[in-house]
Symmetry: C2
Subunit: 464 residues, 2 copies
């Protein structure tokens, strides 16, 4: 099969040098290791289709890969070497971009940061962003229904996709790139492929929505009594403006850890508060000043006692300093010793109660451990971390990790939430999905997988 | 099976009186006629699940029905009497509604107008609306991914659904009502059920997004050179404001027909224009005056020559009069003789060219016929009508209708568009879907159907 691919599409289309393959056999966190006899790298959708046909004929599974930034081992081949990697990186064209129609058609291998630049070059913005933006690709973002930090206003990838092009497991090409706003011709294959982690076909391109570029932004910080007050504050703001793009909840002890461990960080407010909120507001025009808007909103919130104290950054440097506090929480926690991290979500309305309850439950079940939850309040998405505490042994994560994960997953499932908010299932969460998904839902997912990929050649060992 | 249902759930749960069943055997347009030995009417999701289990045991197909307002025969039972109707009308509770969290959980049998009222009662709005709002139900709106007149700003049902509850063909209950904003646990069953026309399961409830209530609205009318100018006008407005909710394209000859046939209609502008646009802008707060906004936008557009002439209604009565013109086009055309109607869509950017080309093509292929396209420009959704013309025989629709439909469907497919923008496939468009859908897509749809409903008990003869 490798020879056939090379013969048809040239030497660039089949990488077999062990040194060239090596970096793509392990996920970026170094947790999962696989083997593959080659990386196939088609240059076009037609080539992907031919490779999928060959894979079906030869019964060789394909592991689609973009930037290899999966958090759950979703792009790592199986360890037995039975599969080949299908890299989409050579398909890196932005086929079209229109400021007038606010749409870009990007191939699967386009790196997110490149799309950001190209959108900016036409005076627009692709609003989804996340830490891996310099290496993650559109195909992976689609296939994991990626979230990130700007979901509050513009939603996850699902909300930003107007249509998809993909090669289905039978080698046929699905073309939804015309991006119809109204289309009722049965089950939506586009929607089915979003978040399917490459197990139902290979996403080769996406038609993506653009939004107005940011003219200016304001970043503020508020001290609040508890998560309920933070949520009431968000709802109050949402009723008054569309401009809120970031609303991050930060517990008082997480802030204290950042101030303790991270150099050149300063407390944003005069006194410590039990809970804090970082707020970002943006404006697309010169007519709306987001700093003025945020000051007005916060002043009203202090009057109504929703907020205990607040400030708005008076310079871009100060704004960056506030975001640095938020982005340093994980680093600060690592300075205190080992911790587990859980990517979970609940309904936004349930978030305040869940934050408080789950901390109590976890700390009761694991004496000495410290649970800390922070994150995107407006999305119901928590970064739930559990630290070992000072007296923990060095092998704490190995010994306690799986049981902590099970408890956190149990709690979030009982609350009607999700054990995977934005990272997907991949290899890492398969056992937990099998354990906790409603049996009827799981049976439906497996039936769909069998129906569309009866030979099992699409990203084996992931998701299901 | 009927006796069993009656015994378990009482006499209200199984209607067998022929006179009571009769009105539900024919679609509201009177095109499709079916037979059914009973209407089963469960009162809860648990009862629906039991009925689906019974149906599987007895191999009796179920035809889910809400308000019976399908435009494509999607809720009419098969003529051989092999199926039973499953009416969701008794499941008519709004289980919860929250102004704070902008969400309502409505059962499948809730009538759209009732949801509108309940949302208004808490100071919010459910923004999707359409002609059948007094009888259509939430379950049907979900299962047909309904569109309507306000899609421009808030999208189709798909955009307004936070999560679904449904009974799958194996009798299991899928519960997605918690409405997570971030949830990446594999293929989305919610998304698969939206627009599935009841062929993959029975939608029993939906978690629906609410938006701020309308404080005031403005309705304007503009004369433009051609559809390209109309689209440029829309894009210009969209870049300046989020307030535009309606943007309806009206050809000059359609306006002339309305003025000729519909009593007490008057020309909105001094002179006739080749094309016209009806624009509605709304505001949720007293701070933004939509009349002033629309006047400013239109004045600028006259300066830049995007618009030839324009006016903004100065009273609610005048606003209603403008909408009456738009809503009377079909009636006015009927006064000119028989016509065919086609529910189609193309990409918004392709709309101006398609409008002009398709008229030429159809009129060339059917000499004497008059094609007229109008509708929701911002959604790419056309109401494409073909009139017989003055010399047509009385059986014109019977003789020419199918060939006209095929040509229109060919043209829209060649343009990358959809043969069903918002009505679905039902019984009416099955043959055309089979003829025109890409074979790979069609095979995938059929494989999904077989996988989830192997016994074929879910709305037989619809969609696929």
């Amino acid at each position: 099969m490798i020879d056939e691919v090379r013969q048809r599409f040239g030497s660039k289309a089949a990488i077999t040098d062990a040194g060239d393959i090596e970096p793509w056999l392990t996920d970026w966190r170094g947790r999962y290791h696989g083997k593959a006899g080659a990386i196939l790298a088609p240059a076009s959708t037609a080539e992907v289709a031919e490779i999928v046909n060959l894979a079906a004929q030869c019964r060789v599974p394909l592991v689609p890969q973009g930037g290899n930034t999966s958090m759950v081992g979703g792009a790592t081949p199986p360890p037995d070497g039975s599969a080949l990697i299908l890299s989409l990186r050579r398909m890196s064209a932005i086929r079209s971009i229109s400021a007038e129609h606010n749409v870009a058609v990007a191939e699967a291998g386009v790196i997110l940061a490149h799309l950001h630049e190209q959108a900016a070059a036409v005076g627009r913005r692709f609003p989804l962003t996340l830490g891996a933006r310099g290496s993650c690709t559109i195909g992976g973002l689609v296939s994991t229904n990626a979230g990130g930090t700007q979901v509050l206003r513009f939603g996850t990838m699902r909300s930003l996709i107007a249509g998809l092009e993909a090669v289905l497991p039978d080698g046929s090409i699905h073309d939804g790139l015309s991006g119809l706003k109204k289309d009722n011709r049965g089950y939506s294959l586009d929607q089915l492929l979003i978040g399917a982690e490459g197990t139902l076909g290979i996403v080769t391109a996406a038609s993506l929505r653009l939004v107005p570029a940011v003219h200016s932004r304001a970043v503020g910080w508020a001290g609040v009594r508890d998560p309920g007050a933070a949520l009431a504050l968000l709802r109050d703001f949402e009723a008054r403006t569309d401009a809120i793009e970031g609303f991050e909840l930060v517990p008082g002890d997480s802030l204290a850890l950042v101030l303790k461990h991270v150099p050149s960080t300063r407390p944003p407010l005069e006194k410590p508060h039990s809970w804090n909120v970082l707020i970002e507001a943006t404006s697309a025009t010169a007519e709306l000043d987001p700093v003025e808007l945020l000051q007005t909103l916060l002043a009203k919130a202090i009057e109504t006692k929703l907020v205990e104290d607040a400030m708005v950054a008076s310079s871009e440097a100060q704004a960056e300093a506030l975001w640095k506090i938020r982005d340093s929480i994980s680093e600060a926690e690592r300075s205190e010793g080992p911790s587990t991290a859980h990517d979970i979500s609940v309904a936004v309305a349930d978030m305040p109660q869940f934050l408080l309850n789950s901390k109590v439950e976890v700390e009761r079940a694991f004496p000495g451990a410290v649970a800390s939850a922070f994150g995107h309040l407006g999305d119901g998405n928590l970064h739930f971390h559990v630290r070992a505490g000072s007296r923990a042994a060095s092998d704490w994560i190995e010994r306690e990790g799986p049981a902590i994960t099970q408890l956190v997953d149990d709690l979030v499932t009982q609350a009607g939430g999700s054990i995977s908010a934005e990272h997907g299932i991949g290899q890492m969460k398969r056992t937990e999905l099998e354990r906790l998904a409603p049996p009827g839902d799981l049976a439906a997912l497996k039936a769909i997988k069998r129906a569309l990929d009866p030979l099992g050649i699409m990203n084996p060992g992931k998701l299901l």
